[in-house]
Amino acid sequence: MAASPFASRSPSVAVTSPNTLRLKASGGTASKPTPMPDQELTEQLNAEVRQKYVKDKKLGEGTYAVVYLGHLRDDPSSFVAIKKIKVNAEYKDGLTMDAIREVKYLQELSHPNVIALHDVFSSKDQNLSLVLEFLPRGDLEMLIKDGDIQYGAADIKAWMGMLARGVWFCHENFVLHRDIKPNNLLVASDGEVKLADFGLARSFADPYLNMTHQVITRWYRPPELLYGARQYSGAVDVWSMGMVFAELLLRVPFVAGNTDLDQTSKICEAFGTPTEDNWPGVTQLPNYIPTDPAHRVPLQGRDFFLRQFPTAGPVGADLLMSMCALDPRKRSTAVQVLRHNWWTMDPQPTRNEDLPRKTGTKKMGEDLSRRGGEIDDGPFKNAARQLDFGAMK
């Protein structure tokens, strides 16, 4: 797929002067015939955007999109990822919700730790193309999985810091991401971590309005969503962030259920059984499952987190614990996470240029073409299943 799709375009369409918009229209009464504008204004604007980029090779293809490497026509060294959304033949109601959400929110969010959407344009077959920041160094999941890569507490602090700032920014803009997990955290060429895949994102709902609980990839899904809560907050993303933190420390997913039910019970085993005492109102949630009082696990305290995550240090373990509170009202908010004193104490976070790296152009293609909530089926998944949480106590 090295051919540029633009090369074949009619030369009459501004290829000779890609950056000049021909908006002038004559009054039509002049004696000399003036050239007629060959497109409506809105189409001219779209063509202008499309002409800015050249598509190069295909990076990856998934259920939802095809991702190409591309560059600015004016500057061959400026790389971009062009994500062409596939038309979903089964969905008859127009553009799919994931595409709408992704475009809607990325158009509004501009932050160093959120993937940048440079442009959106349409091609003549009515496909939508998103021009995204090119992030060639893979994702955090790759780094976690790769046994050849060594990393330590300072690296984790750097990555978590970037994640926390990205999540804070989303929440500050009243946007819930709802699919935070290591393979949605992409790494830029300078080592910066960027939150990607906004296919499940939405704005905070007005008070008392319901949202769906079928969001967030299972292993990163908080207990309130597993219990079917329809009104929730940024706390859902903070839980996912906590799970990413734990996974960075352990290098395996911390709670990895095979089913939603299994996920709930694994969370209970790991962190404690939710009760009206430690989480007022939990028994009223739609999908709450009553527990056998004989098998209740007490709420885990600081000691547990320290024992379980020794590399985090006592302060790091305290931060992690605050992100994993079962009761979403007791969980840290994104601002509180950023204000924690773990960030300012030793070890200092690794500078971006010194972070462990891996090249992964192809991976970005895969990451961006997946549908929200999908899990990669890899050897890692099986490894996670073998985790024995009973032995950890």
Partner: protein, 425 residues
Amino acid sequence: MIEDDIYRTSSQFRLWSYTRPALASLRTKTNDIASERVRAALQRARPAQQSTTPSAAGTPQPGSDGETKKPEEKQIECLTPEEELILVRYYCEKTLELGETYKPPLPTMVRATAIQYLHRFYLTNSPMTYHPKSIMACALFLATKTDNYYMSLRQFADGIPGETSTDDVISPEFLLMQGLRFTFDVRHPFRGLEGGVMELQAIAQGQAPPAPHIPNQTAQNLLQKLKSIAPPPIPSSSINDRIARAHGTTRETLKTAAQMTDAYFLYTPSQIWLSAFLLADKPLAEFYLDTKLGGPLTETIPDGDAMETDLKNPLYELRTKLFKVLTECSALLGAYTTLSSDPDQMKGLKRIAKKLYHCQNPEKINLKRDSGQPAVAGAADSGQVTSESESERLAKKRKLELEQKARSGASDMFGPELVAERTKQ
């Protein structure tokens, strides 16, 4: 990071905020381009139509040919930008009504988003090219998707009075999104109003925290001041009653005048709700602003002995600037009356609709996605590529449609009040 900084990164600010002259010139430009293309398209359609008549023996009622040809022979009169604006406004009002017909009615926010989509779409598209009637349902459906009010396309189409297929609703979606420049987020003034009203209620209960820039404020003196402001336009039984009344009136203005006018293009959401609030209850709104910005300069000069420089409200200039903007915006909102409730405006609208009937671009009527020739962004759009047979086909189709219309009378989505119009098939 302050709220203004966040607002300035929004697509609403970056792409959809204009000064009045910039807005006017963009509309003129859009109108110029569309007019020229309409004339050219009708020109192309004319010889085709003449040549088909003798050969097309099967064409029903060849006798009517003379009538349909006539208006095209004289110079085609296109809509002016002002006429286009009135037409679009009418369909914005219709969008509000359409949302009301659902059970339960679509949320105000969804309808408001759809209306803003229409306004934005018609900044770079002309009603002569795409009739608002064929775009409005699609805009409303798109808004249900972007504003998280899920309903299926089938369910949505069934809720539209009259015969509307799912295809009628969805076919212009891509075109619409292109016109929106793929920005779906609309920042509304409704949430700001709710926040302001909650603050006023807190003051009325003597529980308000002081404003950040005015440290000597206390809950008590705020309550005292609130009690001493000038009476409301309509007498009310209590402060709470007064706040509730102003709240209701403001909400209504935000639902109507703020949606139908250019307010969103010219002002920020907070400027819009504050302006609407000023219209509803001026003394109350001014009191609210003074809790944030301090009073006017004169009020801060007591008879006492302090130096005048100490007494100047440090936010005086900001306050003056803001009041100027709010006054302008209030005037815009206050001048609005619904088209359909005003017989004179309706008369003008009918004239425009008639005129549009003769200057609708015949090549853009079929928006169907599966119609071989994509209506959008395709090569078929550039005049040179459109084959002779294609324009012939379109001309024929148009004529047939006219005749069908004439026979069946206008059984339009929203009744016959706008004379018989050409609808998309």
